[in-house]
Point group: C2
Chain length 118, copies 2
Amino acid sequence: MTLVEEDVSLMFAALADPTRRSILGKLAEGDATVGELAEPFAMTQQAISKHLKVLERAGLISRSRTAQSRPCRLEAERLDAAVEWIARHRRTWSERYDRLDAHLENIRRPESEKEPSK
Amino acid sequence: MTLVEEDVSLMFAALADPTRRSILGKLAEGDATVGELAEPFAMTQQAISKHLKVLERAGLISRSRTAQSRPCRLEAERLDAAVEWIARHRRTWSERYDRLDAHLENIRRPESEKEPSK
DNA sequence: CCGTTGCACAACTTATAGGTTGTTTACTCT
DNA sequence: AGAGTAAACAACCTATAAGTTGTGCAACGG
């Protein structure tokens, strides 16, 4: 699950575009088809399709092949990776943020698994 | 301190480049001059200078005018903004991450200011 | 079986990103 | 004043990003 540098680049690059961030926001409310995602934008369906491909390469969404439509699903876990990358580098920058890092450790595993010691 | 959409774009775009991320990593160890930052890379000083300009526009570094050199300083706080953006959107995606959001609220203010209530 | 809908693929245009070389500015040192 | 060093500025090249139009194709719905 730990990312190589290129993954990080793809992720941040994907997040750098407002249209794509908007798409992610919409997907947060639930899975959606390409048409549904394209509708609010003053942009062709093809353009949105390209954006979705970028998001898919970045691992931020996945697409199933249901009949004639291709619903997109948000892969929210991938966003953890972004936060984690920042946190990991941030650790050296200010020890105050060790706590953020520790916190991320915790939320990445189910409640029950939390280590009481250490 | 809350970011407008364009700031977010600039930030993520700045983080999308491996060279720039590497520069940030180096700056984490302390302030450095352009020359020092350029040294490890197989790249001209001018190219690094451009990268620094991108990082500066994104608010991730600042530069003082000390004599003949221009030391760069990491503006780590700005990275909070990135994490915060993700967390804010993430909130709707899974309520499990409310805790991350709440945590960020806390670390963004000094220890002493923490609100005990609410 | 034929029209429509939902989406991807291909080719093209324009702008921007990332790099180069060449030059200029500004300070320091002698 | 003049040489050397630190870094920015300018013009240019090339690749890619973001959009377009046009087309193809698969799956339904009469």
